[in-house]
Amino acid sequence: MSSVESSLDVFRARRGTSAFGAEHRYARPRWLLVFGPRLIRFSRRSALVIALLALWEVAPRIGWADPAFLPPFSEVLNAGFELAVNGQLYEHVGASLFRAFGGFVIAVIFIVPLGLAIGWYRRLGDTLNQLIEVLRNTAPLALLPVFILLLGIGEVSKISMVAYSCAWPLLLNTIAAVRQVDPLLIKSARTMGATPLQLFVKVFLPASLPTIFVGVRLASAAAMLVLVASEMVGAKAGLGYLIIYGQYSFLIPQMYFGILAITTIGLTANGALEGLERRFTRWKPTSSA
């Protein structure tokens, strides 16, 4: 703490006597030169989130909100810790991840190739276009009762529900990706004598990858959304169940912790997918450059 304060003093000193700034620059501790800018960047980016959490902590304590309905942030974390200790957290997170990941992977495995085919064979696209439009404009959650009626309330209906809602962003983005490939690149490859198969593998696939990834990330968000909703209806485990159970049993801190867990999983999944995307599309100019 004291070192932070002293470095703040250095900052103040610099600001106050800018004419002598050069001399003071050498007085700045070395670690601050290395981590200082990062720290500043971090705090600038996270300021609003930190402020929101602080407000969450303070508001119930000073009477701005009813602590029964909005317990302070620290109590929520505490409830989460208890859930972790008694093993329930593992059970719920495990169940949710299994369903979300299962449905997502199934969708990627089947839908991306389907989208590639639809984009590639224009006639197939024309045939399927109306069906796709009708289905994708039917909100997946509206179909939740149908899935339950047909597939029961077990894992099958939940995983299918997730897969179904992942399918649309994946399908539409994959089709668009294939159709948006720069015609000049296709022309160029054709002049070099590329066969249709070579054209597909060496031009269409790599050129489509960035747009397909947009679909993959949208799908992962859709997966979480639908998962929580379907776990709230007829489930005995999972974070959606934890949230709704917390509400019914008035275990409000647990309920909030369930919500936080969903957020964390969403952020982690998105981060992982972004990392994967960067690995696969390293050739792209970075937006900052």
């Binding site: 000049l184 022309k187 490859a189 054709r190 002049t191 070099m192 590329a194 031009v203 990858l209 050739w283």
Partner: protein
């Protein structure tokens, strides 16, 4: 006289046009009655006003389109489709952004099924040939326009076509880079003895590079005139553009072209309502600037 490397025989090319979009007819004649021989190892340049079907001519030669009438022959055989005996260099480079410079150059070799080791060696050789030896692992977005075009040229040379077709390859580059690349292209041409068909809208470029300059008419594209460029302009003198002879040849091409530009503008003004005088002046200046 040696047999022609490339021969156009009474070539006509029409395109279907959406009816009603300001067109009275529903087909557009891009090329008409084009008959032309290109000699083996020749450097031929083509100039014409924009929309004269220069690029259509190249598409026919590249096998990307088929003529409506007439024939396009390569070594006496009709062109049936794209193949690696012709390499095409485009104005917008058309490099694959997900491939490094070396991988781009190796693309045609991959298509041809050349083994990985030889692909690497040939890519390195052609990178070196275009003066980019240290840039093998750069992605296209990390290269300047001139460097991208060098990579594109190297890519077309790498699979060793006999004919190189170039569609305004230097039009997007700045003046200095363009001149440098012109000199290097001439050097490459002398070294590799390829037959080159080079399309440009720049008169200077056409004269500096071409042994013969073909001047096209405005739409429909026909061959208006073919000029033999005196050998003296291709000797290795410095700054050929400063020679009086260059000025004379340039003026000849310019005069031929101006008529066509004016005609093109008038017909455009008829169809589209562009103020003819201003537009003509502008495109005459555009023609002259290179």
């Amino acid at each position: 006289m040696k047999a022609a490397k490339i021969r156009f025989e009474h070539v006509r090319k029409e395109f279907a046009v959406r009816p009603g979009a300001g067109n009275s007819t529903d087909s557009l004649v891009a090329l008409d009655g084009v008959t032309l021989d290109v000699r083996p190892g020749e450097f031929l340049t083509l100039v014409g006003p924009s929309g004269c079907g220069k690029s259509t001519l190249l598409d026919l030669l590249g096998g990307l389109a088929a003529p409506t009438e007439g024939r396009v022959l390569l070594d006496g055989r009709p062109v049936a489709g794209p193949a690696r005996d012709r390499g095409i260099v485009f104005q917008q480079y058309a490099l694959f952004p997900w491939r490094t410079a070396a991988q781009n150059i190796a693309f045609g070799l991959e298509i041809a099924g050349v083994a990985a080791k030889e692909r690497r060696e040939r890519a390195a050789y052609y990178l070196d040939l275009v003066g980019l030896a240290g840039f093998a692992d750069r992605y296209p977005h990390e290269l300047s326009g001139g460097m991208k075009q060098r990579v594109a040229i190297a890519r077309s040379l790498a699979y060793e076509p006999e004919v190189l077709l170039m569609d305004e390859p230097f039009a997007a580059l700045d003046a200095q880079t363009r001149e440098t690349l012109q000199v290097e292209l001439l050097r490459l041409w002398r070294r590799t003895a390829k037959t080159i068909v080079f399309i440009t809208h720049g008169i200077d470029e056409a004269i500096v590079l071409g042994q013969r300059v073909v001047v096209m008419t405005s739409r429909p594209g026909r061959i208006k005139h073919i000029l033999e460029i005196p050998d003296m302009l291709h000797s290795e003198v410095e700054d050929v553009r400063s020679l009086p002879l260059f000025g004379a040849v340039r003026h000849e091409v310019w005069t031929l072209l101006r008529e066509e530009v004016v005609k093109a503008q008038q017909s455009q003004a008829r169809d589209g309502g562009v103020a003819p005088a201003a537009a003509t002046k502008r495109s005459v200046r555009e023609l002259a600037h290179v």
